[in-house]
């Protein structure tokens, strides 16, 4: 029981250090763009480049005007940059923090929350670009209130998923590499730039049973002015509780070990 208590304390201590990781997150974001001329614009460059490229290619392939699918595609990329971006970074989160972990007493949750904070800053910058571009193209829609609940739900899910990925990735470096390439595959398997309704059956099933697809819709749909499907909410909460249970077990078993795995 001691170990479970330690696991819960790790998470609580992580949140207690909010002033520290929120400050460090900003600093690290600013530091990334030190000596660049365009600065924070680079946060949004990826979103704009990929969205326009995909919308152009798929528009040309299917013969419809790129404007038809553009909001769905850019909303999908925006949400995926948060979900897939976190997943890709999560596997190396402790390795990246190794210096800090070996010189300061900090809970494991701290390092994940620091990464999540950076990802969230990233997301907000891209969200502004998303609104600006859609407004310029006269495709903009007002977000629904659901985002106020769904975004925190997705962030909580991704925080837990990061811990689940990060702990074994630190011990077994092959997992680290696997996650990186899985993230790329998941980009195609998640309905980001294709619609499940028009997809072949196997692909439709993937969209239906992939937790990431539901997390994606929880972010995208409210931003496009629609309420997310009830099914997505159910998946979102179910994965939240399931992941929380896994995280507690993992922290209880391996919390003390991670620093030796670096």
């Amino acid at each position: 029981m001691d170990a479970v208590e330690g696991a819960v304390r790790d998470i609580i201590d992580g949140f207690r250090l909010t002033p520290l990781w929120s400050r460090l997150g900003w600093e690290q974001t600013v530091a990334r763009f030190r000596r660049t001329i365009l600065g924070p614009f680079w946060l949004t460059a990826n979103l704009l480049a990929i969205s326009f490229a995909l919308a152009f290619v798929f528009g040309a392939l299917s013969g419809v005007d790129y404007r038809t699918n553009f909001p769905t595609i850019i909303g999908g990329i925006l949400a995926w940059n948060l979900i897939g971006g976190v997943l890709g970074e999560a596997s190396g989160v402790f390795l990246a923090s190794a210096g800090l972990m070996q010189t300061m007493k900090l809970p494991l949750t701290f390092h994940v929350l620091l990464m999540m904070h950076r990802a969230f800053i990233n997301f907000l910058a891209q969200l502004i670009a998303f609104w600006v571009v859609l407004a310029l193209l006269r495709l903009g829609a007002l977000p629904t209130w659901h985002i106020l609940l769904s975004l925190p739900l997705v962030l909580a899910n991704m925080t837990l998923m990061s811990l689940i990925v990060a702990i074994p990735s630190t011990r077994f470096r092959d997992i680290n590499q696997t996650v990186l390439f899985l993230t790329q595959i998941l980009f195609f398997l998640t309905p980001i730039f294709w619609a499940p309704a028009t997809a072949a059956r196997p692909l439709r099933l993937v969209a239906q049973y992939s937790p990431l697809a539901h997390l994606l819709e929880l972010v995208r749909q409210p931003l496009l002015g629609h309420a997310p499907a009830l099914l997505s909410w159910e998946w979102g909460f179910a994965t939240l509780f399931a992941q929380f249970a896994i995280v507690i077990v993992m922290l209880a078993l391996f919390r003390k070990r991670v620093v030796f795995w670096l």
């Binding site: 530091a31 010189t103 300061m104 620093v259 030796f260």
Partner: protein
């Protein structure tokens, strides 16, 4: 508030992964340093870095940790600082802790000295206003002058040590944990640092310091802990250690 450091039967193993246990074992047994390798499970090598370490430190104690490279000094400092959680035994530290274990750790090499002072303060959850109010004093003690406006990557090891020490000791902590890198500073700075550590003692704080500098240990510390292969071979007052010829023996070895 009273502060104390208590260690009770602390045993700590390092698990070294993905190293060919066989060749590492040969290499280690041929070296005159190090902890004990005592078992291997396939690709995992276990190094016992600390074995059954126990001691108590009370207010005003300044402990010098002495021992060969690889004898477990830094590991012990990390255990006291709470970075490593021991496999067995208890560690109980009362009081706010400041640790300076690796030189340059947690610093942003592209940021200036001033920015890093603020960052180090932030890492200890000191409000920005309080840091700015003491900024002048920190810069003055570090003796870096206008260099604080340059990026840290232009600093030498000694300059970095000066800045980190100045920053760590400007704000009171109950327990100060220092590794041997203090020696990176020059003679002038070490004299200043020793004076400042004396000040810590007047305020009933605890200092734990890993060092190879026996003069420093004798002048600053009232207790000595000699480590060998992860075990304590001497723990007691500095006078006893000096009288036993410890300082001389170690210096020759």
């Amino acid at each position: 508030m009273s502060c104390s450091v208590r260690l009770d039967g602390v045993t700590l193993d390092y698990y070294v992964y993905s190293v060919r246990a066989q060749s590492l074992r040969n290499a280690v047994f041929n070296m005159a340093v190090g902890g004990k390798l005592y078992k291997d499970q396939g690709d995992i090598t276990v190094v016992r870095a600390l074995e059954n370490v126990s001691f108590n430190l009370e207010e005003g104690d300044r402990l010098a940790l002495i021992g060969h490279n690889g004898s477990g000094k830094t590991t012990l400092l990390k255990v006291i600082a709470g970075i490593y959680l021991p496999a067995r035994g208890r560690v109980d530290v009362q009081g706010e802790m400041t640790s300076m274990i690796a030189l340059g750790a947690g610093l942003d090499m592209d940021a200036t000295g001033l920015q890093n002072i603020r960052k180090m303060g932030a890492m200890r959850m000191i409000p920005a206003k309080a840091i700015d109010a003491r900024m002048g004093a920190i810069v003055e003690f570090s003796g870096l002058g206008d260099f604080v406006r340059l990026p840290m990557k232009t600093y030498s090891q000694g300059m970095m040590a000066r800045l980190m020490f100045a920053c760590a000791t400007e704000f009171d902590a109950d327990v100060l944990v220092l590794d041997e890198w203090l020696a990176a500073g020059d003679a002038d700075f070490i004299t200043k640092a020793m004076e400042r550590m004396q000040g810590f003692v007047d305020r009933a704080k605890i200092v734990v310091m890993g060092t190879h500098n026996f003069a420093l240990a004798q002048q600053v510390c009232n207790k000595v802990c000699v480590m060998d292969s992860g075990r304590i071979t001497y723990f007691g007052p500095t006078e006893g250690w000096v009288a036993g010829g410890g300082g001389l023996k170690m210096a020759e070895a």
